[in-house]
């Protein structure tokens, strides 16, 4: 099955609707270098240590006694067995069995979409950490757009929490600039509004910053006209 099934493009496509686990206690098949790391020659996404460790984790879980290898177990998302088979299956048989289980359990989030969401969530967190708040909002919003996909609730909830935290940071930036302005430190307030504008031009927040800057400039002009230059 290693070469006949797991390399089959139809099986690979079906596998994206599942989480796949591979256990083998053997390592005699050898390794190959992938991006500088020694990976399993049969499944270069894993190290041999990975599949030997997984084998230890699952070996007594679903079978007792001697097993006719290869063997396959299908579980629900909680890890509860819903079917199993000893002996080899063709790609077609395997895909049919998987489709049956999927029908019972209902649709979930595809692995491509899930890992794309993980990537965007990580980008959002990184941008927040670097105070690139508009980038953070964009990354989190990409995930929120997945809301209608089945099984997306967990990642979308995390994105919404990220958006909320980012928006709090944006509001704090504006409040900070407003407070500096109220305290009369006009040059520093201008800098703060300009920083906000640089990130949020064209948005509601950007418009607030633009309005504040315009008001401050107008006030300065008015004072100059009256022969009373603004205090620095």
């Amino acid at each position: 099955m290693d070469s006949s099934v797991y390399a089959n493009k139809d099986f690979i496509k079906a596998s994206k609707r599942w989480v796949c686990v591979y256990g083998s206690k053997d390592s005699g098949h050898g390794t190959e270098k992938v991006n500088g790391a020694e990976m399993c020659k049969l499944h270069p996404q894993l190290t041999c240590d990975d599949h030997m460790k997984v084998n230890g984790e699952v070996s007594g879980k679903f079978f007792t006694g001697t097993i006719k290898m290869p063997a396959t177990v299908w579980c629900d998302s909680d890890g509860k067995e819903v079917g199993k088979q000893q002996g080899a299956l063709s790609s077609k048989q395997l895909i049919e069995k998987m489709a049956e289980v999927e029908k019972q359990l209902g649709p979930g989030l595809g692995s491509d979409e899930y890992w794309m969401a993980q990537d965007r969530l990580a980008a959002g967190e990184k941008a927040m950490g670097e105070a690139k708040l508009r980038d953070a909002l964009a990354s989190f919003n990409e995930v929120v757009k997945m809301e209608k996909l089945p099984g997306s609730k967990a990642v979308v909830d995390r994105a919404k929490a990220g958006l909320e935290r980012t928006n709090e940071m944006v509001q704090a930036l504006v409040a900070n600039a407003d407070e500096i302005r109220s305290a009369g430190d006009l040059d520093r307030a201008k800098e703060k509004y300009k920083e906000i504008l640089a990130q949020f031009r064209g948005t509601e927040i950007g418009k607030k910053a633009e309005k504040a800057l315009a008001e401050m400039e107008q006030a300065e002009k008015d004072k100059v006209k009256k022969g009373n230059p603004p205090k620095r």
Binding site: V21, Q45, V58, M69, P70, N176
Partner: protein
């Protein structure tokens, strides 16, 4: 320090510490993405609401 700066810094620090779950090494689009542990498989399956396929093998 202005009283608004501290909350902003605290939020940024929280965001930096809250990191995402472990991401797998780059997997080619035309291959199976195997979970590297049973716990990881359960966590991902619950998050995605998808079933788990467990394959037991041995070398020939």
């Amino acid at each position: 320090m202005n009283r608004f700066v501290l909350p902003v810094l605290a939020l940024a620090a929280t965001a930096a510490l809250a990191g995402p779950p472990d991401k797998p090494a780059k997997v080619p689009a035309d291959s199976i993405k195997w979970a590297t542990s049973w716990d990881e498989a359960i966590r991902e399956a619950k998050e995605r609401n998808v079933p788990i396929h467990v394959a037991y093998h041995k070398d020939n």
